[in-house]
């Protein structure tokens, strides 16, 4: 702080602090607190707001348990509230996306950090970044076109003989998983790339010299070293996927429903901001809990990730 004042003078320092404070308080803290407060109050006609029916309760939160449907799981039939199921599927497919991102990003990150010629690295990074210059909406629509039943992907696969009949890609959650993986894979790539770059190549060579196989070098040397990077990539991809609305809306099928879409429906279709807020906080809270548990299980400290 003193350093800032010395460097920029009192006026500019004060201005900077004020702007940051404004951003934090007005754009982050206040809206969240407002929604949080609203989430405990019932959705009422305007005239009744502040009236006797307007009291705090967990009623909005309890709505996730309304309206059950029948399901079978490996022949075992059970009933489950629709919104709970949506939530469970959202978490499950977010995990699938996270794993898919990891499987794609780890080899690429290793290649970039340890194998690629350092001279060609800027070109490689540029190629990876170019898609980010296009808006997320356009990219999602592009995938929608690519994955269409009579779209280019099927045409290509048919042409090279990889498939015999066109495949329906946008069924169930498939389109969503593909779209989310594509959208968020870079959030996995860069933390892992950073982590692997910081690994001394001599350690890989030392393990090699001692006779370690390729697989063991990765399991014992590279992966443990990259664990914080992998963890932070996974947390980011998981949270972003679970919180994504755009991709599930565009690449979803008739049978896919993302929890954010449910929240969106409460906001926009039902115009019930109170319940929508409650659902949003459920998502936030449970995802945070889930991630914390996952970090515990994989023995990663939060401070390692922050590095």
């Amino acid at each position: 702080m003193n350093d800032l004042i010395r460097r920029y003078g009192v006026t500019i320092t004060a201005l900077m602090c004020l702007l940051v404070a404004f951003w934090l308080v007005m754009l982050v803290v206040v809206p969240n607190i407002t929604l949080f407060e609203q989430s405990f109050r019932p959705y009422l006609p305007v005239v009744e707001v502040g009236g006797p029916k307007d009291f705090y309760s967990f009623g909005n939160y309890a709505k996730v348990f309304d309206g059950s449907i029948e399901r079978t799981f490996f022949g075992y039939a059970y009933t489950i509230p629709v919104h709970v199921m949506t939530f469970g599927l959202t978490i499950w497919y977010s995990i699938v996306v996270t794993v898919a991102c990891f499987l794609l990003a780890y080899p690429l990150a290793f290649f970039m950090a340890k194998i690629a010629n350092p001279k060609s690295l800027p070109t490689l990074l540029l190629l990876l970044f170019i898609p980010l210059w296009v808006s997320e909406v356009l990219r999602a629509f592009a995938w929608w076109i690519i994955l269409a039943f009579k779209g280019p992907l099927n045409a290509l696969l048919l042409a090279i003989g990889a498939i015999e009949a066109p495949v329906r890609w946008i069924v169930d959650y498939d389109g969503v998983v593909i779209g989310l993986t594509y959208t968020y894979v870079l959030f996995m790539l860069f933390p892992i790339y950073n982590a692997i770059s910081s690994l001394d190549t001599n350690q890989i060579e030392a393990a090699d010299d001692l006779g370690a196989s390729w697989w063991r070098i990765h399991m014992r040397i590279v992966l443990p070293h990259a664990k914080p990077g992998i963890a932070s990539g996974c947390v980011m991809v998981f949270m972003l996927s679970a919180g994504s609305l755009l991709v599930p809306s565009i690449l979803g099928s008739t049978t896919s429903q993302w929890f954010t879409q449910t929240i969106d429906q409460w906001f926009k279709d039902a115009l019930d901001w109170n319940t929508a807020s409650a659902y949003a906080f459920i998502l936030l809270l449970l995802c945070t809990v889930f991630v914390s548990i996952a970090l515990k299980v994989f023995k990663v400290k939060l401070s390692d990730i922050a590095k």
């Binding site: 001394d200 001599n202 350690q203 060579e205 030392a206 393990a207 090699d208 010299d209 001692l210 006779g211 370690a212 196989s213 063991r216 014992r220 040397i221 443990p224 070293h225």
Partner: protein
């Protein structure tokens, strides 16, 4: 267990740059062999070729008589100790040491036992469960050696392993390394840019400059009979005189210089090259009277006390610096600055040498 290593006309190019040029050397089983040379002369490159991380552009490397071309590092009977050690920081010491055994599918109990044995061998008992970050520089050094020894290599390759240690520890580790080598009987190939280290530890030394091996000999011959000016200069100090050789006979030659004709040893094969006269400061004598031969009048300009010896800096009449070293054993009288004396040397102690053997 140890093996012979042969390098036959080995060269290594990085693009158009030749890092190692036509290296030929035979290293005996159980020998402690050092490559000595300034930074960038190609020492690490030679070591990496022997261990299999890079392939020679030309020539063959044989270990125990077997051509190593196409053999991966993990298929060679070598163990490399990296310049920065490259210990695994996320494993405890004993897992570091037994990593090579883990790779070979040895069970945990045996691995642990072997690690404890090796820790005892390198004088580090009780460190098995510590982490790498808890050890001092010298201790890390020992762990690296133990880790390499665990796979029972026939050849240990050490890349400037002591360069990160402070002076006292370095001297201690020299003796330690040498003792470990004797105890295990493994062939050691040791790389260093420190001439003291190479001379003190090795059975033989290969002195390198700009990718070429200049001379291979035992430490005494390297110091006392260097083959060229580079070797003479790299392993010790010299007073150097320019001139022209004449009247060569019986391994001795007259050398015409600005200070008259000096006499010195000459090698037969050096006759036709451009030569200079090299004499070590400790072989340069100072006296009040003119010597019978190789005598140059000088004026003392500075005396510097170095502990074991006293270095006397003199200038000849035309300003050339000539250094003489007197042993600090009470026998020599230290001259005063400004004294006029005669510097001289025994012809048998001086040599006429060509410059370094370098490309074009």
């Amino acid at each position: 267990m140890s093996a012979k290593i042969d390098l036959d006309n080995v060269s290594c190019d990085f693009g158009s740059f030749r890092a190692v040029d036509n290296a030929n050397v035979s290293i005996e089983p159980g020998e402690f062999f050092s490559f000595l040379g300034p930074s960038g002369c190609g020492k690490t490159t030679i070591l990496r070729m022997i261990s299999g991380f890079i392939n020679p552009t030309e020539g063959a490397i044989r270990i125990g008589g077997k051509d190593m071309r196409g053999q991966r590092p993990n298929q060679r009977p070598t163990a490399l100790i990296f310049q920065n050690l490259a210990l695994f920081p996320l494993m405890p010491i004993w897992e570091n040491i037994s990593f090579g055994l883990e790779v070979r599918g040895v069970d945990k109990v045996t691995r642990r036992k072997k690690a404890e044995e090796l820790l005892e061998l390198v004088d580090l008992k009780g460190a098995a469960d510590k982490m790498v970050s808890q050890l001092s520089g010298g201790q890390k050094q020992r762990v690296a050696i133990a880790r390499a020894l665990a796979v029972e290599p026939s050849v240990m390759l050490l890349d400037e392993p002591l360069s990160a240690l402070d002076l006292k520890l370095r001297q201690h580790m020299r003796a330690e390394l040498r003792a470990i080598q004797k105890r295990t009987g493994v062939t050691f190939i040791y790389i260093t840019h420190d001439q003291g280290e190479a001379l003190a530890m090795s059975d033989r030394v290969g002195v390198m400059s700009q990718g070429r091996i200049q001379q291979i000999a035992n430490p005494r011959d390297i110091y006392n009979a260097p083959i060229n000016g580079f070797v003479a200069g790299f392993v010790g100090e010299n007073n150097i005189f320019d001139g022209k050789a004449a009247a060569i006979s019986g391994g001795m030659a007259g050398f015409e210089t600005a200070y008259g004709t000096l006499r010195a040893r000459i090698n037969d094969d050096a006759k036709d090259k451009a030569l200079r006269l090299y004499v070590r400061p400790e072989h340069t004598l100072l006296s009040a009277t003119k010597a019978a031969e190789n005598s140059i009048p000088v004026t003392v300009s500075e005396v510097s006390f170095e502990g074991a010896f006293i270095s006397v800096l003199c200038h000849s009449d035309d300003g050339k610096l000539i250094v003489a070293e007197l042993r600090n054993d009470g026998s020599a009288t230290v001259p005063d600055i400004g004294t006029k004396l005669h510097a001289s040397f025994d012809a048998a102690r001086a040599a006429l040498l060509p410059d370094a053997n370098v490309r074009g």
